[in-house]
């Protein structure tokens, strides 16, 4: 558990035991204790994801794949029709309480899917967690805290914890024979958690991180940092950026002539969904992630075909996370016969959920409600992710601070 969120979230345990009552009082008698039951009404899926701004691609990928998973079944969730209520999160923490309350209190959704931003995840978890609310499925935000100190009965994640894709990356880097490395990431929660994980794995395996560069978020002017890297000449560089920042970093890295001299590693987001935009600059970058496009299992092949057919492009890891969010819900709802009001049974069904045939391969839910999943080693070749092997099999997040784990 990195130190940055300790103060913010450590009060959580107290909250769970004592303040549940407070939360319940706060909403008074205005909230119905249970939700619409029955085969006739629609299942209401509230989605809080970014649809505007830099991260809109993530929101769209997740939402598209979620809907696709429902369609790949019979278009229903356990026989009930589905109604989607999406809200643009705008990646704004200040708006998060209101947006969450809208989905929970006004729209009375059965399931709450979101978000991308870990700060928003914390808000949602806080509002949803302590009470008999809808079940929350996190299809991206990797903050360790969500399934760490903030973990709760009704919060599940179908994506990853920041620790998961980063930790094996550090080991891979050491296994490739590198002795010294520089870590570089944006100075925000996800970046710092991933760098911590990668660094600790690298150093556990005999490497040494000689410098830890933190770039102000969301600054994309990397030249100064690249010159530092060039001057320090580490054996390897471990980087986390995503989206536009990932494109720019990888291209700048190559343009500065560093690519062929100092190999680049990182959590898979460095090249995921953006390798086309990165072009030749991404060739040869090794990353670790819980998905690879060329996984040969039949579920993945079917998913990719269907996604291409529906949206005219190939899915990425975010899509897979959205796909599995839907799968988690469908699976549990089927087990309880479509009764979305049976929260306790739904939670039981989700807690023990096993997915032998996800596009990402087999995974199951940990006690802290985070996927236990393979982390794959991939390399960009010919503009595509090439699967090199499994970097860590059935990797489980340590879930530090979670009472359920």
């Amino acid at each position: 558990m990195p130190k940055e969120s300790r103060k913010g979230f450590s009060r959580r345990s107290f909250l769970q035991t004592t303040a549940a009552a407070v939360g319940a009082t706060a909403v008074g008698g205005l909230m119905p204790a249970s939700f619409a039951i029955g085969g006739s009404s629609k299942v209401r899926i509230g989605i809080l994801l970014p649809y505007s701004g830099t991260y809109a691609m993530l929101g769209n990928s997740i939402t598209d794949a979620f809907k696709l998973r429902v369609q790949m079944g019979d278009g229903t969730i356990a026989g009930r029709e589905v109604e989607y209520i999406p809200i643009d999160s705008e990646m704004s923490v200040p708006k998060a309480p209101q947006n969450t309350k809208k989905l929970v209190d006004k729209e009375k959704v059965d399931f709450l899917v979101g978000p991308v931003h870990s700060g928003i995840a914390a808000v949602m978890a806080k509002l949803v967690g302590p009470r008999e609310g809808p079940i929350m499925i996190v299809p991206n935000a990797g903050s360790n805290a969500v399934t760490g100190p903030l973990c709760a009965d009704n919060i599940f994640r179908t994506s990853f914890s920041n620790w998961q894709p980063a930790f094996p990356g550090g080991k891979v880097m050491a296994d490739d024979g590198h002795k010294t490395a520089i870590t570089i990431a944006w100075k925000y929660a996800a970046g710092m958690q991933m760098m911590d994980a990668g660094k600790s794995a690298f150093e556990q395996n005999g490497g040494k991180v000689i410098k830890d560069i933190q770039v102000p978020f969301p600054n994309v002017e990397f030249q100064a940092n690249l010159s530092e890297i060039a001057a320090l000449k580490p054996d390897a560089v471990f980087a986390f950026f995503s989206g536009g920042g990932a494109v720019k970093f990888v291209k700048d890295y190559a343009a500065a002539g560093l690519k062929d001299k100092i190999p680049l590693y990182g959590p898979g987001f460095l090249t995921e969904g953006v390798s086309k935009a990165q072009g030749a600059a991404a060739e040869g970058i090794r990353t670790t992630l819980h998905y690879s496009g060329d996984l040969e299992n039949s579920a993945n092949q079917a998913f990719r075909r269907a996604y291409d057919k529906a949206y005219g492009k190939m899915p990425n890891v975010f899509s897979v996370q959205g796909y599995d969010a839907a799968a988690l819900i469908i699976n549990a709802m089927t087990q309880v016969g479509g009764d979305s009001g049976a929260t306790g049974d739904l939670i039981n069904a989700m807690s023990g959920a096993k997915f032998p045939d996800s596009p990402r391969g087999a995974w199951h839910m940990s006690a802290a409600h985070n996927p236990v999943q393979n982390i794959y080693l991939r390399e960009v070749r010919g503009g595509k992710q090439k699967l090199l092997g499994i970097a860590a099999k059935d990797l489980e997040d340590p879930a530090k601070g979670c009472k359920m784990a």
Binding site: A26, V27, S52, S92, K101, D105, V123, M192
Partner: protein
């Protein structure tokens, strides 16, 4: 504007207030919460109106005080229990007042767009300070788990965890701020800052050290912004760097212009309109920003004095038509404005 038209506006405002008072008993739970947001932004917008509409200082860093107060509340709130409001409120407001004093000391020397930019610069520095301060939650922000308690001795005066009590608490704060600002504007101090807005050089030549008057106005506006941030910290339960970002500062500025600057009640209405439309447009279409953009441009082009200007025009028209039909002679102009 004549007194009858301004009386009409007063009736209109009072009837709106009555609606606000009644709302928690009829409104949906979610919308009651949304109205709380609107009122908090109303307070924030009024405080900025003191600067823009009355002192002539356009700040693009006003969210700094809003966010800062939230952080102060998070800092002073103990780990596992509610902090007393008698401690928390003065702490937050004095803290933001101090910040406004320091920032204002350097900022109010400049004017025009330079003032806009230097306030932005200070707010951005605060933004990055909190964004990178991992002890305070970094980019994710930090929770405020418990609303401060309002107790006297061992007696609980107000249970702010009660949705409805908290609603009225915010409403009373908003009204207090409104009347406090009205009082300020009517006082000798208020006369001077309005003079500064109209013609700063002349005001100085008349014998006022305008720097100090602007500074005091800046500090008062910052403190009231801090009150809004304090309330939002209680309401939202979280404060994040996003609360002090330039997007938030820009939003407040838009609210003030949209509502009609230099009217105090206009910015409140601007806050209600802006937040309501954001909520509503999102329900209509995924391309809600397009609607918002068109709306904003339409306001600029067709409502030059904002919502308050529209209300004033309507009141004047209504007054005229009533007068024309009921009385042969139009009423004589009395003293202008609504004290």
């Amino acid at each position: 504007m004549n007194t009858r038209a301004s009386r009409l506006i007063r009736y209109f405002l009072i009837s709106n207030l009555l609606l606000l008072v009644a709302f928690p008993w009829v409104g949906e739970h979610f919308y009651v919460g949304l109205v709380m947001n609107m009122m908090i932004f109303g307070i924030l917008a009024m405080s900025l109106d003191l600067l823009i509409g009355y002192t002539g200082l356009v700040s693009l860093g006003h969210a700094a005080y809003y966010g800062l107060a939230g952080y102060l509340l998070a800092i002073i709130s103990p780990e596992s229990e509610a902090v007393s409001i008698w401690l928390a409120l003065p702490f937050c407001i004095l803290g933001t007042a101090l910040a406004a004093l320091i920032i204002g000391w350097f900022s109010v020397r400049t004017s025009g767009i330079y003032f806009i930019m230097i306030t932005l610069a200070f707010a951005q520095m605060l933004f990055y300070y909190f964004n990178e301060n991992t002890d305070l939650g970094g980019s994710d922000g930090i929770f405020i788990f418990f609303k401060p308690s309002v107790t006297l001795g061992s007696i609980t005066l107000l249970d702010l965890d009660n949705h409805i009590v908290f609603y009225y608490f915010i409403l009373v704060c908003m009204l207090l701020v409104y009347f406090l600002l009205r009082m300020l504007l009517a006082s000798p101090f208020g006369q001077v800052i309005q003079g500064i807005r109209a013609n700063e050089n002349r005001t100085r030549a008349l014998g006022y050290p305008t720097f100090y008057y602007k500074l005091v106005s800046f500090v008062i506006a910052g403190s009231i912004g801090g009150l809004a941030g304090f309330l939002e910290g209680m309401h939202g339960g979280i404060v994040s760097p996003g609360h002090l970002g330039w997007h938030e500062s820009g939003l407040i500025l838009m609210i003030v212009i949209l509502g009609g600057m230099g009217t105090l009640y206009g910015p409140i209405m601007g806050a209600f309109a802006m937040i309501f439309l954001q909520d509503w447009f999102q329900e209509i279409t995924v391309h809600w920003m397009l609607l918002m953009g068109v709306f904003v441009i339409a306001v600029v082009l067709f409502l030059p004095r904002g919502i308050a200007g529209l209300i004033e025009d309507l009141a004047a028209k209504l007054d005229k038509s009533v007068t024309d039909s009921n009385r042969p002679a139009t009423q004589k102009n009395g003293e202008s404005g609504d004290g």
